[in-house]
């Protein structure tokens, strides 16, 4: 199983996510493009995902909803921009709970000889908006130094594990 690398350097409006998967990129691109496949993986298992619109093509609006067990809904929408290819998909992203706070997300699929590196670069309008998005946990770490931070916190002992799992 791969490791997800999340980078969010303090004071910048960017979030970068990297993850390698064991499949050719045509297939990965399909899992990102086909609404029926997208529904099967994007977001936590405990949420039901309802895809209202997802047809990757320049100028098309997309929208999906995550619904938890209590029926609470978290809806997101945006627009696809430019050619949506096996190399790269670009879209705007907005959580309907925070209207007007829009990020611009580019997903790249990098061929690794049968495996694929998925690289996502999100640009937020302000540092504060990015920080709030991360804080909301994407009801919707960071900087590579924060991988070391996990390590550091781990060394501080038991109470860490307890509070991190709550």
């Amino acid at each position: 199983m791969g490791t997800t690398k999340i980078t969010a350097i303090p004071g910048t409006p960017f979030i970068d996510i990297e993850r390698e998967v064991a499949a050719p990129r045509e297939l990965v691109h399909r899992a990102y493009s086909d609404p029926e496949l997208l529904r099967q993986w994007l977001g936590p298992r405990k949420y039901e995902m309802i895809v209202d619109a997802w047809e990757p093509a320049d100028g098309r609006r997309w929208r999906y909803v995550h619904r938890d067990a209590d029926g609470t809904e978290y809806a997101f929408h945006g627009v696809f921009h430019g050619p949506q290819t096996v190399d790269r998909m670009v879209q705007t992203f907005e959580f309907e709970g925070a209207p007007g706070y829009v990020s611009l997300d580019a997903v790249e699929f990098i061929d690794q000889g049968g495996r694929t590196l998925i690289r996502t670069h999100s640009v937020h309008q302000t540092v504060e908006a990015r920080d709030a998005m991360i804080e909301a946990g994407m009801s919707s770490g960071v900087e590579e130094g924060f991988e070391r931070l996990d390590e550091l916190v781990g060394r501080l002992g038991q109470p860490v594990a307890a509070s991190a799992s709550s």
């Binding site: 791969g2 969010a8 499949a23 993986w41 298992r45 804080e135 501080l156 509070s163």
Partner: protein, 109 residues
Amino acid sequence: MDQLSAVFGALADPTRRAILARLTDRDLSVAELTQPFDVSQPAISRHLKVLERAGLISRNRRATARLSHIEGQPLREATEWLARYRAFWDESYARLDELLASLHPDSQG
């Protein structure tokens, strides 16, 4: 600047992270902290001031040396800050792995 921003600002610097890592073992004086680094003692003192303002360390005078002590709570809050975001993507990609494996069973591993 709120506490979390101060914590992240303080953690953005590699020397300050290295200082914190050393303080997880034991409390240290400025002189002891300066030793392994290729920077001056005043520079280390400035880093300690930033860490102290962020609440990541406290400093106590014992005998003649002023010892720096790591404070765990702000670090815990900082990791919790990204924990849910990370969990969202960890779980999504784990599901994507399963989906891709089912679509393409010979490509596992």
